[in-house]
């Protein structure tokens, strides 16, 4: 198994190492994330004013929610251009000539990047903003573990949405605009801009039908101990269904794309 995974581990390491070259990028990244957290928390502090609770939500929950969700969003991303670059610069045909799965290469690349960001971006950003703004501890060790697991599925949702956009690069040379639209939708609807507690009821109800509330927001609610067993099970079920749905759709588009490429002749 390990031997079989070997080339992909190499791909992951390559992606991880590439980040080390652009050191200033990650310092700016940490800075950026911390500023975002501070601004959001400051706005909500002003909204809370002298109230200790709004809609039954204490301010400390809001602060913790922002610290975690913004930091997670910064670390658990998917680069929408991995496949697009391969198609644009023609390295995809090079890789098709090697006995490797291109999909696993993209996954390995993403995981390599994200491990770097978790260590070098998420950790410092959480520590800095937690120190200044206050971070509630997890409700229990079990809830912390469940939060980590559901974050993995949350990441997979983000990953496969990105994968669908990437697979479109066989038809559009530029997936940049698709990427921008996707990122805005995710940041608005996943709770990193406005905690989902405070959305109008109709919108909150609508979001329940989308995958967006179970990307970062649901894991954080698990962390805060805001979900009962039934809700936690429902969250995982919902995550798995969305991951499968997006993965299947992405693979379908990808297969069509490869076929198009190999008929047209790269």
């Amino acid at each position: 198994m390990v031997i079989k995974m070997n080339p992909y581990i190499e791909y992951g390491k390559k992606a991880f190492a590439k980040n080390l070259v652009y050191r200033s990028d990650y310092i700016i990244g940490v800075f950026n994330t911390v500023i975002m957290v501070f601004i959001q928390v400051a706005i909500w502090r002003a909204i809370y004013g002298s109230n200790t609770q709004i809609n039954g939500v204490p301010f400390s929950y809001v602060a913790t929610s922002f610290v975690l969700s913004i930091c997670f969003a910064a670390a658990l991303t998917a680069n929408d251009f991995v496949l697009a670059d391969k198609v644009l610069y023609g390295s995809i045909t090079t890789e098709l000539l090697k006995p490797i799965s291109i999909n696993l290469c993209i996954m390995a690349d993403t995981i390599g990047n994200n491990l770097f960001k978790l260590i070098m971006q998420f950790a410092p950003a959480v520590i800095i903003s937690g120190l200044f703004l206050g971070l509630l501890p997890p409700a229990s060790v079990l809830m912390l573990l469940l939060c980590v697991f559901s974050l993995i599925f949350g990441f997979l949702i983000v990953y496969y949405i990105s994968y669908i956009i990437q697979a479109c690069s066989f038809w559009f040379t530029n997936v940049w605009s698709l990427s921008v639209i996707k990122n805005s939708v995710i940041s608005i609807l996943s709770g990193t801009l406005i905690p989902l507690w405070f959305l109008p009821d109709w919108l909150a109800a609508a979001i329940k039908w989308t995958p967006f509330d179970v990307i970062y927001f649901a894991p954080i609610q698990i962390y805060l101990g805001q979900m009962n067993t039934q809700e936690i099970i429902f969250t995982f079920a919902k995550q798995i269904v969305w991951v499968l749905l997006f993965a299947v759709l992405g693979m379908f588009i990808y297969k069509k794309g490869i076929k198009k490429l190999c008929i047209a002749g790269g």
Binding site: I3, P7, T93, T94, L97, I100, K259, I263, G266
Partner: protein
């Protein structure tokens, strides 16, 4: 039989761009397509261990054929069987057994030093350590890779890059290697090194070779047999000697020139 090609054809469909804004609008509504017959109904077989020169003028359909044989281009019609596999259907299994060099385009990772590149290939092809180091040593001896092994691929000269590409294509000891213009733009010394290498590997490892080039000396020094192609059709398939006899020339170069300028 390592390669069997039967009635293979490839037709490319390209959208024709029309002039001006009106033309652009017209292409949007009713795109005009043009068909290019790159390869038309070709058939041949290549035995295990044979080295075959694949020659023809620019645009003859050589690269198109090589791409179909290596599985990255789907045929429009006909059948291909390489080592018992259909290239484009069993991609991963198929590419384990072949090596490909495109002179026009490196198959290596631009940002990796040569040593890292070979290391990654070792992992991708799961090459046993003893085979790997034995091959590297042999390749170094003939191709002189040591002198640039710590440089990134993008920093290499054309000759160095090609030598690295060729070593990379043979590292996992594939039973078949496709060489599409591996000597393009190289000086005589680099060319000679590559010819020597190809000949030696063909002799020692019995690797089946399909070798495309515009330099007939390349072919004379490495191949037993030639397949001549023009406008997508095979014009000749046989030994170099009978080719020369057929065209009534003592010199191979002249014979090829004669053929392409309408000698027959």
């Amino acid at each position: 039989m390592s390669i069997i090609v039967e009635n293979l054809s490839k037709t490319f469909k390209i959208k024709e761009k029309q002039k001006g804004i009106g033309g652009a609008l017209k292409s949007l509504v009713a795109p005009k397509t043009k068909l290019i017959k790159a390869v038309e109904d070709i058939s041949f077989t290549i035995d295990d261990g044979q080295a075959v020169g694949f020659i023809g003028p620019n645009g003859a359909g050589k690269s198109t054929t090589v791409k179909m044989l290596s599985g990255i281009l789907y045929p429009s019609a006909g059948r291909i069987n390489v080592n018992g596999l259909v290239p484009y259907k069993n991609r991963i299994e198929h590419v384990k057994n072949i090596g490909v060099v495109f002179g026009q385009k490196s198959q290596l990772w631009w940002d990796l030093p040569i040593t890292d590149t070979f290391d990654l290939l070792k992992k991708i092809y799961k090459i046993p350590s003893d085979v790997y180091s034995r091959n590297l040593e042999l390749f170094n001896e003939i191709l002189g890779l040591h002198e640039f092994e710590t440089q990134q691929v993008r920093q290499l000269s054309l000759g160095q890059r090609m030598r690295a590409d060729i070593a990379a294509a043979f590292l996992h000891e594939p039973s078949i290697v496709f060489l599409d213009e591996p000597t393009i733009g190289l000086d005589v010394v680099a060319k000679e090194k590559i010819r020597l290498f190809i000949k030696e590997i063909n002799r020692v490892k019995k690797t089946t070779l399909l070798f495309t080039t515009h330099d007939m000396t390349d072919i004379e020094k490495t191949c037993q047999r030639i397949i001549v192609i023009d406008k997508g059709k095979i014009l000749y398939d046989g030994t170099i000697d009978s080719f020369k006899t057929k065209l009534n020339k003592d010199d191979f170069n002249e014979a090829v020139y004669e053929m392409f300028t309408g000698g027959i």
